[in-house]
């Protein structure tokens, strides 16, 4: 190795070191610490009791009905909202890319939901659906006294709507990035060959956008699994709408049970790891194509 390449390596590492340290400081060390905490009985309300309890916290979590109910809620919200976002996001990306006029207006206004604080958006939707303050119940076809937050699946419907509104722009922008890389000549050629608009979409756009779609799905799926803000504001888990992140928060911060809460944290981390693993395993090579670093 020449001294020039060696000094280049050194420079590169010096440039990267601060960012790497900052990223590890609040992830690698805390998750290790969470594992340590999860093996102990630590409840800040009873500081004198405690000690090493092995896997007791994990068995307590995994045998509780609440954990499995929350897993169901989280996965249900994740799958439903990401599916809706993919369809809407694709439609919006196509409008942003192909509209014969007004692209600037669309691009700017689509960014508005992205810029609105999630908590604020959750309040806006909650006010809109609440029977007393809302306008939704005054719309035609909807019962005037519909109590949206009184039932489990009607609460889910409002939560999903708020999540979809807030995060579809992100999905649309990721899809747009994939859309602009497609060679326009392909569409012209297909048109000449008599392909309909729908055929052009399914035979050209979708296959060529596979990497972009998978990247967008992976990001949004993992993000949706962490859903916290919207549920916290709208129901705080009432009517069995609790997500796993809310469960972790309740144990850690509200009940100050660091041992049990950390076990929940570690399990959530493992779930995210599993989802990412399944994505990469299922679509590994294609994900790599869509990565800027690839």
């Amino acid at each position: 190795m020449s001294s020039r390449t060696r000094s280049e390596h050194k420079l590169a590492w010096m440039l990267c070191a601060p960012a790497v340290l900052a990223m590890l400081a609040v992830t690698a060390y805390p998750i290790g610490y969470a594992v340590v905490l999860s093996l102990q009985q630590i409840d800040l309300r009873f500081p004198d009791e405690g000690g090493f309890v092995g896997l007791d916290n994990y068995s307590a979590v995994l045998t509780s009905q609440l954990w499995w109910e929350d897993i169901f809620n989280t996965v249900f919200l994740m799958v439903t909202s990401v599916a809706i976002e993919l369809v809407l996001g694709m439609a919006i990306a196509l409008v942003m890319h192909r509209a014969i006029f007004g692209r600037g207006v669309v691009r700017t206004s689509v960014l508005i939901p992205y810029g609105i604080i999630t908590v604020v958006a959750a309040f806006a939707w909650q006010f809109a659906f609440a029977p007393d303050t809302g306008f939704v119940n005054h719309l035609p076809l909807i019962a005037d006294d519909m109590d949206w937050f009184g039932g489990r699946f009607s609460s889910f419907a409002v939560i999903i709507m708020a999540e979809v509104w807030k995060t579809t722009p992100f999905m649309a922008l990721l899809l747009l990035a994939g859309l602009v890389t497609i060679d326009g000549g392909l569409y012209e050629a297909a048109k000449v060959d008599g392909a309909s608009a729908w055929q052009r979409f399914t035979r050209i756009t979708l296959p060529l956008m596979k990497p972009a779609i998978l990247v967008a799905l992976l990001f949004r799926t993992l993000d949706a699994f962490r859903v916290f803000d919207t549920i916290f504001i709208m129901t705080r888990g009432a009517q069995d709408t609790e997500s796993v992140s809310i469960l972790g928060f309740n144990q850690l911060i509200s009940r100050l049970n660091l041992g049990l809460g950390s076990a929940v944290s570690v399990l959530i981390f493992l779930c995210v790891f599993l989802i990412a693993f399944l994505f990469v395993r299922g679509f590994g090579t294609k994900l790599d194509e869509g990565r800027p670093g690839g």
Partner: protein, 237 residues
């Protein structure tokens, strides 16, 4: 109707639908904020009378008694500090990744991707405990540090993508034409890199501005509580 004007009509409808989708909740929020208290439950989408009392009460009492001013200052200072530090660190790293060959480059990119997917709730418990021991609980740095961690991956990815597209040879060309290295950097490279840096900065700022989980977990008072965490209490409280 000709084919051109039919296309025009279809796109008008598509654009209108997207605009309604994006803007309705925002218009609704503004509308509620302008309703006087007694009219909040009238269920009208457009207020029948407009009042700015809600805004006045947010700022009443100056910095000490207003429920809004201190959290607003906290939010602005914390989000701006995070943005500046994140952009400096991410620019260093992205420059190295985009321009230099070195072992561990893929590892850094893969690690950044992994952190972008990391569930924040998994670090809240340990951080809560660590910050209380270190005296960082309910302070600005106590929020800035986790925000840096979780916004750096996105900033690095955006900057690497932009830096790869910059024609770096222009820097040498400018020096051949008599520019000093400093001039070549500030007059040629900086203007080319500015849009990417600006994009990354907006994304980092929105991330820090938007966060709720760390803000309610790692603060306890107006000393460092940000706007999302200090918003009016939800109904179930």
């Amino acid at each position: 109707m000709g084919r051109g004007s039919r296309d025009y009509a279809y796109w008008s409808i598509a654009i209108a639908v997207v605009l309604i989708f994006a803007l309705i909740p925002v218009v609704w929020l503004i509308s509620v904020s302008l309703k006087p208290p007694e009219a909040v439950t009238d269920g009208r989408f457009i207020p029948s009378e407009v009042s700015f009392d809600n805004y006045k009460s947010l700022f009443e009492g100056g910095i000490d008694d207003s429920p809004f001013i201190k959290p607003l200052i906290n939010s602005i200072v914390i989000a701006l500090t995070t943005t500046v530090i994140a952009i400096v660190l991410a620019s260093f790293a992205a420059y190295a990744i985009a321009r230099l060959e070195f072992p561990g480059k893929r590892l850094i990119l893969a690690g950044a991707l992994a952190i972008a997917m990391f569930p924040p709730i998994s670090t809240v418990g340990p951080l809560f405990d660590m910050w209380r021991a270190l005296g960082l609980y309910d302070t600005y740095p106590g929020l800035i540090i986790p925000y840096l961690t979780f916004s750096l991956p996105l900033a690095i990815y955006v900057l690497v993508a932009f830096f790869r597209e910059i024609p770096w040879d222009l820097e040498q060309a400018a020096q051949v034409d008599g520019a000093t290295p400093f001039q070549a950097f500030t007059k040629v490279i900086v203007p080319l890199a500015a849009p990417g840096v600006f994009t990354a900065a907006i994304l980092v700022f929105i991330f820090a501005w938007n966060d709720f989980l760390f803000a309610i977990s790692l603060t306890s008072s107006d000393a460092s509580r940000t706007v999302p965490a200090a918003s009016p209490q939800p109904r179930w409280w």
